[in-house]
């Protein structure tokens, strides 16, 4: 029974990782840059939920909507002010720049919170329901539902909408997109706005037991980084598979590790995503679903 329980918890974790991971992938595909600012954007977006839901006492869902609006604006702002001038600069420089952004945003957002975590004020609280002897938290169900809905919406956006198609084209061949009249600047801006919104949504579920957020939630969000690396950086499908892999592995470790190997100590499960990443990269250096780099030597 504890195995099934771990499985469900793992899937809920995977939902959070895939929300964060899709943000990484969208930015990577449009700019070929691995943005390290994603966890910080999560803290920042999450703060506004906390602020509007628990300090201003708005309805939780209204607070989420406002937070999403703020996330869109801040994503656009960051892209326009910090990333746009870097277009055409070496990818490495841009990636380092996102580390700087991550630090800056994390310090600012961290100051909003106190040292201790704050509740996001969600309606799920500690409520659970039982299926047989399984105990399932409402928040975990919400995480899975939200990420599935968001994923389907994103797939539809990329498949059917004009801008989604333009973004795919720009990811594939920027010059062709340009020559057909696509504004590549708009593509960059939209990908940052999307990533920022996805991070904000992830903030609601990053602590699936309590729904709280604090400066330390950053380390939890950072685990989405090994997830996208495992998935191959440029594949949304790969990110999903990797998120499930990592989420379930982490949950299983959390359940069994203290019984099996107590000498390692508690919370070893936090390291599991990185361990999985090591193993996958040893076997497939370009990730599970990544585009294989063909280079002549």
């Amino acid at each position: 029974m504890s195995f099934l329980q771990a499985l469900i918890n793992g899937i809920a974790l995977a939902a959070v990782y895939s929300l964060l991971g899709m943000g990484f992938v969208i930015i990577y595909k449009s700019m070929q840059v691995l943005s390290f600012a994603q966890p910080a954007l999560m803290l920042f977006g999450g703060w506004w939920v906390v602020y509007f839901a628990t300090l201003v006492h708005l309805n939780f869902y209204v607070a989420v909507l406002i937070a999403i609006a703020i996330a869109v604006i801040s994503g656009l702002f960051i892209e326009r002010v910090f990333l746009r001038p870097m277009v055409g600069k070496p990818v490495f420089a841009v990636a380092i720049m996102t580390i700087g952004l991550d630090l800056a945003i994390r310090i600012i957002a961290g100051n909003f919170y106190d040292v201790s975590p704050r509740s996001t004020g969600d309606p799920w609280g500690l409520s659970t329901f039982n299926v047989g002897r399984l105990i399932i938290g409402h928040r975990r169900v919400a995480a899975i539902v939200v990420s599935v809905v968001v994923l389907l919406a994103l797939l539809a956006f990329f498949r059917f909408s004009r801008m989604g198609l333009a973004m795919r084209a720009a990811a594939f061949d920027q010059e062709v997109a340009l020559i057909q009249g696509v504004s590549v600047a708009a593509v960059f801006a939209i990908s940052w706005a999307l990533a920022s919104v996805l991070a904000t949504l992830a903030s609601l579920f990053i602590n699936p037991d309590l729904g709280s957020l604090g400066p330390a939630s950053y380390t939890l969000a950072l685990k989405a980084l090994p997830v996208v690396v495992i998935g191959g950086l440029d594949s949304i499908g790969g990110t999903l598979v990797a998120a499930l892999m990592v989420g379930i592995a982490e949950a299983l470790t959390g359940t069994y590790q203290m019984h099996l190997t107590p000498y390692i100590g508690q919370n070893f499960s936090q390291v599991v995503p990185y361990l999985v990443m090591f193993v996958v990269l040893l076997v497939r250096p370009y990730g599970l679903f990544g585009t294989r780099e063909v280079e002549r030597v």
Partner: protein, 262 residues
């Protein structure tokens, strides 16, 4: 009328590629732009389409006008909206996307008339109509070229810039592409055709320009160019002396070059 006047293009601030070229594409005509490798043909088209900055180039002098309005320094997407569209050299279809998606991308700036333009393109290229869901990368070379031209037509341009549409195609397919260009022109689109295949380009164009190392060296109606001795020798590979076997020893390029400028 699409016109270039004394356009000078510099790459990386130092490499002078176009040294003041002028050229005109009147409404509804086919104009050929010929020249050897590295002459600046592609750069000319990139300058018109406003995508020089991708490769760190810029227009340093001169102007490009569309009906008298300057369009240099406009963004690429504005230029497409004004009705100048280009099919890049080497086809450049989006290989992972379907035929239909490639065409839909072409309609990015002209979404309202998507269906109308799609019908027109499918009418021109029945091959594509049969397989809208086909992955573009698996099309044959000729079909990919047709897709590239079709994609450029999806914005319903007034002027179509074609960069070597016959590149790497079998003679039969070159004929087919040629007929399609004539048909596109007949439907009212002006064409600026950059070609290595001078024979093909000159037989369908009304006017021809010859570009050599960034300068226009000749500019005449195509019929006259076809008769020109130097053009016949350099671009059509024909010898004025008739059928005798040609020797490169007889080609005195330096003297010919002098004659271009005289």
């Amino acid at each position: 009328m699409l016109a270039l006047k004394n356009v000078e293009v510099v790459y990386h601030d130092v490499i002078l590629v176009l040294r003041g070229i002028s050229l005109q594409v009147p409404d509804g005509t086919i104009v050929a732009l010929l020249g050897a490798n590295g002459a600046g043909k592609t750069t000319t088209l990139r300058a018109i389409s406003g995508i020089l900055d991708v490769q760190n180039g810029e227009i340093t002098k001169g102007e490009i006008t569309l009906d008298g309005q300057r369009i240099d320094h406009l963004s690429a997407s504005k230029i497409v909206k004004l009705g100048v569209s280009q099919a890049l050299e080497g086809r450049r279809v989006l290989a992972e996307l379907t035929v239909e998606e490639n065409l839909r991308l072409g309609a990015h700036t002209n979404r309202r008339k998507l269906n109308e333009n799609m019908d027109r393109v499918y009418g021109l290229f029945p091959d594509l109509k049969q397989r809208p869901k086909f992955i573009a990368g698996y099309l044959s070379g000729g079909q990919q070229q047709m897709l590239a031209i079709g994609r450029a037509l999806m914005s319903a341009p007034r002027y179509l810039l074609l960069d070597e549409p016959s590149l790497g195609l079998a003679p039969m397919l070159v004929q087919e592409i040629r007929d399609i260009i004539v048909e596109i022109n007949r439907q009212g689109t002006g064409v600026l055709l950059v070609e290595q295949n001078a024979g093909m380009a000159l037989t369908i164009s009304s006017h021809g320009y010859i570009l050599e190392t960034g300068k226009m060296v000749m500019d005449k109606p195509s019929a006259e160019l076809l008769k020109d001795e130097d053009v016949r020798e350099f671009y059509l590979g024909l010898h004025s002396g008739g059928d005798e076997i040609r020797s490169f020893a007889n080609v005195k390029q330096y003297r010919r070059k002098k004659r271009w400028l005289s």
